[in-house]
Symmetry: C2
């Protein structure tokens, strides 16, 4: 894995140095919407290659956005969880969901959830944040 060099000190540029690629935020989506937290779950959904998934998970670990621990229910497996810094990314992911649901033809957004996101963004987001906080804080799924 190669660390991308800092292009400038702008907060947006620095953020995109970390997650500005095709896959990183999709991994976050899997955490948030599908509760996929094991390597072999994450590898399935949009058929990311294993080397890319490994690279992105390492980058997220290095940037303290996810943490990794042995799964207490299956000790030969690792469980990945969002840190506080990772949980802080949830509003970005939901804003992207909202934009895609409203602006891209042929998307498969659930219409009830889409309406909720459009009319009660803050409520929806904080409910998801609360749920993730409780499930990801104790290394337990």
């Amino acid at each position: 894995m190669k660390q991308i060099e800092r292009r400038s000190d702008c907060p947006i540029s620095l953020s995109l140095d970390i997650f500005g690629d095709k896959w990183t935020l999709l991994i976050l989506r899997d955490f948030i919407f599908f509760d996929n937290r094991h390597f072999n779950e994450l590898v399935t959904i949009e058929k990311i290659s294993t080397n890319i998934l490994a690279d992105r998970l390492n980058r997220l670990l290095e940037n303290d956005i996810v943490k990794k621990e042995v799964d207490r229910n299956n000790k030969s497996s690792y469980l990945y969880s969002l840190t506080e810094k990772g949980i802080d990314l949830i509003p970005i992911v939901i804003e992207i969901y909202k934009w895609g649901a409203n602006n891209i033809d042929g998307n498969n957004a659930n219409s009830e959830f889409k309406n909720e996101v459009n009319s009660n963004f803050n409520k929806v987001t904080s409910e998801i944040v609360d749920r993730i906080k409780t499930t990801h804080n104790n290394g337990y799924k």
Copy 2:
């Protein structure tokens, strides 16, 4: 320019197919925060290559996120503007600004603006949206 193939119908995946890369949202940032709307302005800030900038602007045009017209103040130059769909991306960009300002060491966020974004996100965002709407709707800078 090659169109990225659709990985799935998920709104987030579809959105990232359009702007999930290192540069696209930075171009949007230049529109929003610096009011850079000409090719030779956009090319300067984080030293993007001209072929990449041309490619990304074309992708944004194809996806109806920006529009392009002859600059009425300089007829040998083109003026790029955000469409409604592009203006709809502003909350995403500001969420990313917020995350970077709060979570990345050494970022150069303006502390007053950062506080404003943290405490009055919706107000800050809608003010920026209103400003962009008036300046980008009439092909005039």
